[in-house]
């Protein structure tokens, strides 16, 4: 069963809170990691690593650089993930 968008958003909020100290309620789909959430490239790597543990979806560095917003990550996880 694939995870739905809300489940991924919730999981992502928890990850971003832990990695970057951004409260989960600020993590909404339209937010840009760099411009809105002040998350830098190293934190993005930590988020990718945590997302792999949580969602079972690997986000390599060459893909990671294309993921600019929270929605981009949700879409990537949904389109790449097989099951949860």
């Amino acid at each position: 069963m694939a995870m739905n968008e809300t489940e991924i958003l919730t999981g992502l909020g928890e990850i971003i809170d832990e990695v970057a100290g951004v409260p989960a309620d600020q993590v909404t789909p339209d937010k840009s990691f760099v411009d809105d959430l002040d998350i830098d490239s190293l934190s993005m790597v930590e988020i990718a690593v945590a997302a792999q543990d949580k969602f079972g979806v690997e986000i390599p560095d060459d893909q990671l650089k294309n993921l600019k917003t929270v929605q981009d990550v949700i879409d990537y996880v949904r389109n790449t993930g097989v099951s949860a």
Binding site: D40, S41, L42, V45, E46, V49, D61, L64
Partner: protein, 322 residues
Amino acid sequence: MRLTEARPGTRVLAFGGYQPARVLTNEELAATVDTTDEWIRSRVGIASRRIAGPDESLADMATAAGGKALAASGLPASDIDLVIVATCTAETAIPNVAATVATRLGIAAPGAYDLNAACAGFCYALATASDAVRAGTSRYVLVIGAEKLSQWVDWTDRSTCIIFADGAGAAVVGPVSDPQAGPGIGPVVWGSDGAMADKIAIKDRNSFLMQEGQAVFRWATTALHPVARKACELAGVDPTELAAFVPHQANLRIVEAIARKLGAPQARVADDIVHAGNTSSASIPLALSRMIERGEIGSGEAVLLLGFGAGVSYAAQVITVP
């Protein structure tokens, strides 16, 4: 044929550290490359670093650190029969640094060699020193990690010149004198992955040091905490019993990420990088000697060391504070 008589256990008798006098601040770097103090502190956790003087050689720094460790051990130089210098920035391919340093310290005719495992070098050298003593090949070993990275850094490259620095740290390793005390250097867990060789490299003698920061960060924050935990397991020391965790001072965020995953919330985590920068093989003994100097860790307490870096290579062991 006969063999040397093996010894049951080894320990570190003393540490010593040396940093060049010249302090290079973030503000100074910001005047020459496009960066800021805030950016450097937030990305790598460094406030200032030390850079060798124009006439200060790698052997000078190694000798200074080695001399301090030797003095602190209370041993005469004549007791040392092996000198190992861990370095990846030797100024000459031949001769090696170790023989020169030994002679300068008045250590007569010891075994002497350099060892290159980059930022993991000190832990590799400590393990080989410990094994040499255990096997009866050597009695007392002087182990030095020394680097002059400033000569391999592109001072116009803001991604690397903010990180690397110069310095040296040393340890004297010998047999456990009190059989009741138990060993003071635990089993090493070491390894490497040459498939990642291009992630941190100085490609040839005319090139500068380069690294793929994100790839290294991902590797360091995912592959190494199991190595650290394994070293604890082999030593029979639970991570919750550690007084301190002293990983290679690569980047404060890598240090903190590994520490979080280690599961040793009570352990003091070395943060020497803040004022020392990344000194590769020197960073662990430098951090340790400062922590001991400040009384942050006490004699007999268990400390976990974790070296990691170019190769890629890594090594970890638990030791007790001398």
